[in-house]
């Protein structure tokens, strides 16, 4: 197996994962999160360095690099943040190992150009979460969530497998590099691509396949959700970008799924009583906005990758904020949170506003790009739907912001010294992120 540069980031992360697993055995589990963080950052740097080398399996174009770097940095940040959280305290070595495996899978998904590569990446990225969601000591809800996720993810990967097989049947090659001949071929190729689309849109909780997301968000422990929504979903979005940019004919079904997601996501979130369920349903809507960008043709992929990046940052910020709250809190106890964790409360407030699309935040700029791209792609009705969706989203985001909730005993609120730094970084990123955009886009 000749060493080829594009594989470097994967090698780094996979190697680190193996060592992390050994860490628990050698009772040096405590430092493993830091070790994992360092490995992720090394991967990010390597991706930056390898920026434009082309490989037959990996094609690090601009959007893949952007997302790849983001995934690594997000995992690094998540790991160092969770290091202070009591939940993974016992098995932190295997915890880090699992996360690094998930990161490997994500990088493969984002950069993959070969269907088989994508399939392996998807499995690598999904399987660790079966275990992570049901982490020992996180209650029965988490277990139920994990099992539901496991079963439905398995169903989705089965669809993915069928899709790959059909495409292979249709045009004989597993490569995804355009022109993806599968489309021109027989009916099998078409059904295969649609199966792929179905599987991936299950992963990002788009409309017809959205049923699972509310329960998992409600049940799963908050630190795990940082990675599920912040890293897992963004990786699948990267895969979708490569898939749709390779097959232009997918734009119509993507547009339909986008519209369905926005409508269903907003409507469900409107009535969701529980905070976590509301966040789950709003994730459906955000998947819809991402797909709306994707449905707008070649220009759309840039906007889609920007939206994926922004969505990732926002969900990481949200769940970092929520991880200090006790598990079954139905709403955010603002007064207590502001008293004990002012900066974290600020982060949570800014992320909610950014999720809703309040102008100074990058959430708004992401949605603005989506609207620009949609109108440029002549899909006016989708742009209007995005606009009305984000306007409507103010209802449930701001009622979450304004609903007065009381916490029975304030000391159940977790507050760790390291978190203030993360929160401050998060606020800066979200509120003034758009100032940095010119340099990133350049």
């Amino acid at each position: 197996m000749v060493y080829s540069p594009p594989l470097l980031p994967l090698l780094i992360v996979a190697g680190a994962a193996v060592i992390a697993f050994l860490g628990d055995a050698l009772r040096i589990g405590k430092i493993m999160p830091w070790w994992g963080g360092g490995a992720a950052i090394a991967a990010a740097i390597s991706i930056m360095v390898e920026k434009l080398t082309l490989g037959d399996f990996l094609y690090w174009n601009s959007s893949a690099t952007l997302l790849g770097v983001y995934l690594s940095l997000a995992t690094a940040a998540g790991l160092t943040f969770v290091a202070f959280h009591p939940l993974p305290r016992k098995l932190s070595g295997s915890f880090t190992g699992l996360l690094l495996t998930a990161l490997t899978g994500s990088l493969m998904l984002v950069g993959g150009q070969n269907l088989l590569f994508l399939f392996v990446g998807l499995e690598l990225q999904v399987l660790p979460f079966f275990a992570l969601l049901a982490w020992p000591g996180s209650g029965r809800g988490a277990l139920e969530a994990a099992f539901k996720y496991a079963l439905l993810a398995a169903l989705a990967s089965a669809q993915f497998a069928i899709g790959i097989a059909l495409i292979y049947l249709g045009d004989g090659s597993l490569a995804v590099i355009p022109p993806f001949s599968g489309m021109a071929g027989t009916i099998y190729g078409l059904i295969g691509v649609l199966a792929l689309l179905a599987a991936l849109s299950f992963e990002i909780a788009a409309a017809p396949f959205h049923a699972w997301v509310a329960d998992i968000y409600q049940g799963a422990p908050a630190p795990m959700l940082i990675f599920l929504s912040g890293v897992g979903k963004v990786a699948v979005m990267g895969a979708l970008i490569t898939l749709v940019s390779a097959t232009p004919r997918l734009q119509l079904p993507v547009a339909v799924i986008a519209a369905a997601s926005i409508l269903i996501g907003n409507l469900l979130a409107y009535r969701a009583g529980h905070l976590r369920r509301m966040l789950g349903h709003s994730a459906i809507a955000h998947a819809g906005y991402f797909l709306a960008a994707l449905a707008a043709g070649p220009v759309g992929t840039i906007a889609a990758s920007a939206y994926a990046l922004v969505y990732g940052i926002m969900s990481v910020g949200t769940f970092m904020g929520l991880s200090s709250l006790p598990e079954n809190s139905v709403a955010i106890p603002w007064t207590v949170l502001r008293a004990r964790q002012p900066v974290l409360a600020g982060l949570l407030g800014v992320t909610l506003l950014s999720l809703a699309g309040m102008p100074p935040s990058i959430g708004f700029f992401a949605k603005l790009f989506v609207i620009i791209v949609d109108i440029h792609g002549q899909i006016l009705w989708l742009a209007l739907l995005v606009a009305f969706g984000s306007a409507f989203s103010f209802v449930y985001y701001l009622s979450a912001l304004w609903k007065p909730a009381t916490l029975s005993n304030p000391d159940r609120l977790l507050c760790r010294r390291g978190w203030e730094g993360f929160a401050a970084l998060g606020i800066l990123m979200l509120a003034l992120g758009w100032v940095l955009v010119p340099y990133g886009m350049g």
Binding site: I162, L169, L174
Partner: protein, 103 residues
């Protein structure tokens, strides 16, 4: 001719798997249904390999077999934990997470 016949078999396998998942109450059968879906994928992959006279089909089958095994192994482990903690292995056990507003 054999191509269409094999595809019909794969389709049947797929439908059987879906039926198993949707109709049966016990979680074990859900996993069985999942396994059938993966088998359907393998059949299609084999047919593809045969049609294009290349070994990629078989490589694909091996990969699907490996990954399906991994996925189901973990799901089985979770199933044991569910049986222990939630006290049953039917689908209705898993109903704690839902929209409260319904009641």
């Amino acid at each position: 001719m054999t191509l269409e016949l094999a595809l019909v078999i794969a389709a049947l396998l797929f439908l059987a798997g879906i039926a198993l998942i949707l109709l049966r109450r016990s979680l074990i059968f859900l996993l069985l249904g999942m396994e059938l879906l993966f088998n359907a994928a393998m059949v299609i992959a084999l047919v593809g390999g045969a049609r294009w006279h290349s070994s990629t089909g078989q490589v694909l089958v091996i990969f699907i077999m490996a990954l399906s095994g991994a996925a189901l192994a973990l799901t089985l482990a979770l199933l044991l934990r569910v049986k222990q903690e939630l006290g049953g292995d039917t689908v209705d056990v898993l109903c704690h997470l839902r929209e409260e507003a319904d009641e």
